[in-house]
Symmetry: C2
Subunit: 226 residues, 2 copies
């Protein structure tokens, strides 16, 4: 830790262009995180031995603990990165001034895309929430809940303006969240039902069609006879 602080503080140029040490650290960290997210997604926090994370990342357990001093720190970092990615993709999608049907379509598409591209991220998060969010509840309260409430407020505005059907906006968001998220979290069961090893791009396309049809039924556009 001290080493890096020295490096960046002693050499002003390295603040923008990171030095070799920082670069190496980031490479090792990202390798560790890549394996950690996989194991945490599969077995949860308590079920994942850092030893196994270290092995898969190609270093010793003790060496891993040089980068992440505790298991909790590693877990928290994994979830932080999950949220960073998710928030970046979903932020400011819901705009009250845009067409509700367009926004809802984009929202469903973005969330499904996250499920397809980052299923492990989705699963780690899901495991944490299902377990009661005992380790990460505070972060969810601070980073996720405000964003969801914002989206709900947009839905409510549309309802007030008569642009979508007068359903409960909160539960509408929950429904969209659930339908899209399940393509990451429950893909194992879905694959069994579909009789494939894993979900295909086409499965995601058909999922998007069905989900969009149901969600857009609440808009003028979705209701064929309006």
């Amino acid at each position: 830790m001290t080493i890096i602080i020295n490096e960046t503080s002693l050499d002003p140029a390295s603040a923008a262009l990171p030095g070799k040490r920082v670069q190496h650290r980031e490479e090792v960290e990202s390798t560790i995180l890549r394996e950690a997210v996989r194991l945490f997604a599969e077995r949860g926090f308590e079920g994942t031995p850092i030893q196994e994370v270290a092995e898969r990342a190609g270093l010793s357990k003790q060496n891993l603990m040089y980068y992440f001093p505790t298991k909790q720190a590693l877990y928290k970092r994994v979830l932080d990165d999950v949220l960073d990615d998710w928030l970046a993709r979903m932020a400011s999608l819901a705009d009250p001034d845009r067409d509700p049907a367009d926004v809802l379509r984009a929202y469903v598409a973005a969330k499904l895309r996250f499920s397809r591209e980052q299923p492990l991220a989705s699963r780690v998060y899901a495991m944490e929430v299902i377990g009661g969010a005992t380790m990460y509840g505070e972060q969810i309260r601070e980073r996720v809940v405000p964003l969801l409430r914002q989206d709900i407020a947009v839905f409510e505005r549309w309802i007030a303006d008569g642009r979508i059907a007068p359903v409960n906006a909160t539960h509408l968001l929950f429904a969209v969240w659930a339908m899209t998220q399940s393509y990451a979290d429950f893909s194992a069961q879905m694959a069994l039902v579909l009789g494939r090893a894993e979900l295909t791009a086409q499965d995601f396309e058909e999922a998007e069609r069905v989900i969009t049809a149901m969600v857009l039924s609440l808009t003028d556009q979705g209701n064929k006879h309006a």
Copy 2:
């Protein structure tokens, strides 16, 4: 084990009316299972020490292992019971000859009711599936998948007969499953968004309204202008 076999085999009357020993065993087992489902739902298989299950059930670890010889046996039994309950509630709900709107309404209601009454059961199952169903995949394939495929076949029949909109039946089922199941699995996050300690009966009523509205939009009845 031998003791019980002796009892039931030596006394024919006790086959119908269980003796004291069997009764006691069942009481202890159900106490263990009640605590086990809670802990497995919170921390998953690897994250749950049988020692803690035993403590909460009021017996020693060794004594628990008299009833469930291995941790895996306990886990499997928990999931078996979860499936028994769920299958009993959902079996033969989907009848191709009944009105699609009625069936879909009943389906959503039954599944939401399960989420409300047995959230821990739902969460244990969800944890297993999210983790890749490594321990219980075979049972899911044998007991769950056939039932889901049967439901999907009913949906497809309705589509063929023009009784519901021509959407992908499999993904329609996934959507219904996801929306209803999430009220057990993601209740922690939902409660945070709603600003309550836990979901209320009214929350479930509003959920049912929104979900039903979206699903029934695919039927003639749901489409207001048909």
